[in-house]
């Protein structure tokens, strides 16, 4: 068979048909995909239409369920059931709750906040009371329904709900309840009453009646314990705490309330845990501070030990209390307390110490001291008198300086004598014996430590001048602790602390005089003791994993000496290996500042690392850290950057350490320079630190960091910007729109939530931003991400600030429907929120019957179209498959190549077959040749022919 003109035509026709069918099939498939996309959006539309009754249906189900289950509730029987059980599933799923009680339905009614539920809830409340009254006030029956109905009613900020609650409160038969309280299981009835009180207190319209009612029952607070809390130190129930907070918060001090509270604190039957709760609430309200003082004194007289220790931590902030006016009643009570022989001195002393910083108490110190002396409490009198001196130092720093300077000169004599003693006893490094330390030197060391840490240190030493240097150098003659044996011997002799103290305290003194001669013996001792302590630890864990980017861990058995030395340096200056007094007195910090200038890079690294872990801040330290930011070593620079972590935001820390208020701005400036550092670790550290700084000077960095490459930096920046308040709203909303990371979006949502929760933020952008994030909840852990969004939306709904247009509301509905559908199996608060929001969203989307009908019609049309497309595609596909090529495949080459090429390809194929090459390989080789030849024949040769002479071997043709 040869390829003649007819065959060529047939072949051409075959390929034309096949191409046509192929194109037709692909076209129809594309059309089908498009139609499916259209159908999907129409289906979503349909879901929105059909989901309109979901909230109502859910609500009706809950009402029916509540009604049915309540009717089945046994009368006069205590309902013993957990409200709902928590099922913990480890792994992918977090905990979820399952409904197991009818009361859950009641709670759901409250959560839905549908006003239609109010009459039902009111009826439930009244029914349960009626039942109780008919049973001689036996509230044990249906207590849970009563309580839950009250809770549910409390969700409504409406007059009718308030009226039901008020009625419930008034109709509680007090004699019956009082009688019940005397019984062992009476806490249930009290809990009921608290529930009602709590819900009334939650409402903004609660009135004096409510307040008086609470005051009346204050003495009964001792009974307000959580269920099952039978131990003496049981926890006051959440309801009681809320009731008390509402009672005391933002209220003017009334004699009636004061009287009731004082009576409560004097009542021996009232437990300390209850009073602690009250004290905590009172202490947070400035108007009650005097009352707190009185209550404290009453507690002291009543010998309430645990309460006293609790009070010791309340309001000791000097800045807030130093100028406080003291109630005369309080000072009178204090005098009583000082003279009361029953009250131990220690408790009086604790009380006085708490107040000694007050100016008024300072004035009282002398008469109080005299009163104590008269009462025979001589030790107390002395302590008060002594502390009065300290009080004066607090308020008069100049006097403190004078005192320090005066104290310095005798010390110098002591140290000079100590040095000469040592010289007379022989070598300081004699291993066989250590010199005994006299009590005089011990006292001198203690004083020296105090001086070293006072703000006036430098002045003090400068006043002593060069005269101090020989004395301090004498102190340095004390034995240097070089070996573990040295340390053990000094430890056994009880002199370890002193041996530390002498060289180091003297070294710091010398540093103040710009003399660093003494630092070496101190460092040697510090290193050896720290290394010994490290070696004697039970488990030799790596000392610090992060040092040097995690590359400098201490590993047991490490051969590299230099490596071990680096790790040891870290160990030496690591806080956990430092003696207590070094940490407390900040002496180490002084040393570290000097070491930051050391020529050895390992020492500088260790010093900077240790400083970065220190909590203290001084001007000297800060200036050294700024210099360290320009260090030649990247690790030193990195830790200099890390030093700033958590410090810049803390105004309290800045003020406490006496650092200038311009420091935060300066720190932000130098850290911004570090962001441009040549080393990536330094840059990263600087970004990380700055992203957590909420200082005004850092705003521009934070705004830029919203678009940083690292999600963590973006999330930190969001949190930091959040602290600036609503002025950052536009920036956060804009970045949220482009944000790809779910955690960063959640940070934005949590920020919005915090703003909205704390105060009314009526911004048009908030609700749309929330809806946008709601529609982008990740599949993994959807509840975690949905919660803040749903909560914030709910707050906006409650305040009537949900600023959404029809389109935006429509966008939210599919996601809310999905949440409702996905979380159907579990009873959880999120689903109820979703249902409630769904209802609100539907209210914003008006019903358009014509459009709904056309949607159905459109869907049907689309369905028909899709069916038609499917059939057509199938027919085309089958037709295409049925087409048979009448010639061998290789003949197709005639349509695209000259004859000789077809012949060559055929020859090539035959040769390969003769060589027994695998058919697959032959096909691949031929396909490759065909592709290259297609290019050569149809492109390259045609291009060549453009500049070649025409003609050729025409005769041969």
């Amino acid at each position: 068979m040869t390829m003649d003109t007819d065959s060529r035509k047939k072949l051409k026709r075959f390929w034309q048909k096949r191409l046509l069918f192929g194109l037709g099939t692909v076209g129809f498939l594309g059309l089908g995909v498009g139609t499916i996309g259209l159908m999907r959006s129409t289906y979503d539309e349909l879901q929105i239409i059909e989901g309109r009754d979901v909230p109502e249906r859910f609500y009706q189900e809950q009402i029916a369920q509540a009604q049915t289950l309540i009717d089945r509730q046994p009368k006069l029987l205590q309902t013993t059931r957990p409200e709902y059980e928590i099922v913990q599933v480890r792994g992918l799923f977090s905990s979820y709750t399952k409904p197991v009680s009818p009361c859950v339905s009641i709670k759901v009614l409250g959560q839905l906040k549908d006003p239609n539920a109010i009459p039902l809830l009111g009826k439930l409340l009244q029914d349960s009371q009626t039942r109780a009254q008919s049973c001689d006030g036996n509230f044990l029956a249906n207590d849970a329904i009563h309580m839950d109905a009250a809770h549910a009613l409390g969700q409504f900020q409406r007059d009718d709900a308030l009226a039901y609650l008020k009625t419930a409160l008034i109709t509680v038969p007090k004699p019956a309840i009082s009688a019940l309280w005397k019984q062992n299981s009476s806490h249930i009835a009290i809990t009921q009453k608290l529930a009602v009180l709590r819900e009334l207190g939650q409402l903004s319209q609660y009135d004096e009646d409510w307040r008086n009612k609470v005051i009346q029952i204050l003495p009964e607070l001792n009974q307000y314990r959580s269920r099952g809390a039978n131990t003496p130190n049981g926890i006051v129930s959440e309801d009681a705490r809320i009731v008390l907070s509402k009672l005391l918060h933002n209220r003017k001090n009334s004699p009636q309330l004061n009287k009731a509270l004082i009576a409560l604190f004097q009542d021996e039957a009232v437990e300390d845990c209850v009073l602690e709760q009250i004290a905590q609430i009172l202490s947070s309200e400035p108007q009650y501070l005097s009352l707190v003082d009185i209550l404290y004194i009453k507690s002291a007289k009543a010998n309430r030990t645990s309460l006293l220790s609790y009070f010791g931590y309340v309001n000791t902030d000097i800045d807030n209390t130093v100028d406080r006016t003291v109630d005369p009643q309080v000072s009178d009570s204090l005098f009583d307390l000082v003279q009361d022989k029953k009250v131990p001195d220690q408790k009086v002393w604790t009380l006085f110490y708490r107040y000694f910083v007050l100016k008024q108490y300072g004035k009282l110190a002398k008469p109080l001291s005299d009163a104590a002396r008269v009462a025979g409490k001589l030790a107390l009198a002395r302590d008060i008198h002594r502390e009065y001196g300290n009080y004066q130092n607090v308020i008069n720093s100049n006097r403190k300086r004078e005192n320090s300077a005066q104290n310095t000169y005798p010390l110098l004599d002591v140290f000079t004598r100590a040095g000469s003693e040592l010289n007379s006893t022989g070598s300081s490094n004699d291993n066989s014996s250590f010199p005994t330390i006299s009590s005089e030197i011990k006292a001198a060391i203690t004083k020296l430590q105090e001086l070293n840490t006072s703000r006036a240190t430098q002045d003090t030493w400068l006043k002593a001048g060069n005269a101090a240097i020989p004395a301090l150098k004498s102190a340095l003659q004390y034995p240097v602790l070089r070996t573990a044996e040295d340390i053990q011997r000094s430890e056994v002799g009880g002199y370890l602390t002193e041996y530390w103290s002498i060289p180091c305290a003297a070294a710091v003194g010398l540093i103040d005089l710009n003399n660093t001669d003494g630092i070496q013996p101190c460092i040697v001792s510090l290193k050896n003791v720290a290394a010994t302590q490290y070696a004697t630890e039970e488990q030799r864990q790596p000392i610090y994993k992060g040092y040097g980017g995690g590359n400098y861990q201490m590993i047991e058995g490490e051969e590299d000496k230099e490596y071990r030395f680096s790790a040891l340096d870290v160990a030496v200056f690591h806080w956990s290996h430092m003696p207590k007094w070094v940490e407390d007195r900040q002496i180490l910090n002084r040393l570290l500042v000097v070491l930051l200038k050391d020529s050895n890079v390992e020492i500088r690294r260790a010093a900077m690392f240790s400083l970065s872990r220190s909590s203290s801040m001084t001007d000297e330290q800060i200036s050294s850290v700024f210099s360290a930011l320009k260090d030649s070593d990247a690790i030193v620079r990195e830790y200099a950057v890390r030093y700033h972590r958590g410090r810049i935001n803390s105004d309290e820390s800045v003020a406490k350490n006496g650092v200038g208020y311009s420091w935060p701005a300066q720190a932000v400036m130098v850290l911004n320079q570090a962001v441009q550092d040549t080393d990536p670790r330094v840059r990263q550290a600087a970004k990380s630190v700055l992203s957590n700084v909420s200082h005004d000077s850092n705003q521009s960095f934070l705004l830029n960091s919203l678009y940083d490459r690292m999600p963590q930096i973006r999330a930190n920046s969001v949190n930091s910007l959040c602290r600036f308040g609503e002025m950052m709203l536009p920036a956060l909303v804009q970045s949220n729109q482009q944000e790809s990371n779910a955690n960063v979006r959640m940070a934005v949502m949590n920020c919005l939530k915090s703003w909205v929760k704390d105060r009314e933020v009526n911004d048009q952008q908030i609700a749309p931003a929330l809806i946008l994030s709601l529609n982008r909840i990740p599949l993994l852990e959807p509840k975690k991400y949905a919660n803040p969004i749903l909560e914030t939306l709910e707050i906006l709904v409650d305040r009537g600030q949900l600023n959404l247009d029809k389109t935006q509301a429509r966008q939210a509905i599919p996601t809310l429907l999905k949440i409702n559908q996905d979380w159907r199996g579990d009873w959880n608060i999120d689903r109820i929120k979703a249902i409630r929001l769904l209802k609100v969203m539907y209210e914003k989307v008006p019903v358009n019957k014509t459009k709904e009908e056309s949607t159905y019609l459109f869907l049907n049309l689309q369905g028909g179209l899709l069916a038609g497309i499917s059939v057509s595609t199938l027919i085309l596909l089958l037709s295409s498959l049925r087409l048979r090529n009448p010639f061998p495949l290789i003949w197709t080459g005639y349509l695209i190549f000259p004859e000789e090429i077809v012949a060559e390809l055929m020859a090539l194929k035959q040769r390969r077959q003769a060589e027994k090459v695998a058919p697959q390989r032959i096909r691949f080789e031929l396909a490759y040749e065909v592709l290259l030849l297609f290019w050569a024949v149809h492109v390259q040769i045609r291009l060549d022919n453009l500049h070649l002479p025409p003609g050729g071997n025409d005769r041969a043709k």
């Binding site: 390829m3 290789i890 035959q910 030849l933 050569a936 390259q940």
Partner: protein, 114 residues
């Protein structure tokens, strides 16, 4: 590129390395495509394919360096015939002149180095 100063007709003729190789193979012989590749490829650093051969043959044909004739049809190919190529007189002359030029170039280099 060789340049003959004495012959104006050949002054414009330019040959690539592949063209030269093909002319060398076909000098005094007659081959079809696959055979030319068989002759050229053994020992060649970069193997030639049909896609390089046919454009080169087209160039040589257009320049009058090679001529061809139809051969017999190949089995199972629907009557497709091979083309057998051979060098024309012009092709042989051009090739020889290039080879002579190269030889003289090599000799000059040898004398200068001595």
């Amino acid at each position: 590129m060789p340049k003959r100063e004495t012959d104006d007709e050949l002054e414009t003729v330019r040959l690539s390395a592949i063209d030269e190789d093909i002319l060398t193979v076909l000098l005094g012989r007659e081959f079809y495509g696959l055979e030319i590749l068989d002759e050229l490829n053994p020992g060649r650093p970069i193997q030639l394919r049909f896609s390089s051969l046919y454009p080169a043959l087209n160039r040589l044909e257009k320049k009058g360096m090679v001529s061809w004739r139809w051969g017999d049809a190949i089995d199972e190919s629907g009557g497709a015939r091979r083309k057998y190529y051979k060098v024309t007189g012009l092709g042989a002359t051009t090739l020889r002149s290039i080879q002579t030029y190269r030889m003289s170039l090599a000799q000059r280099a040898v004398y200068q180095s001595i």
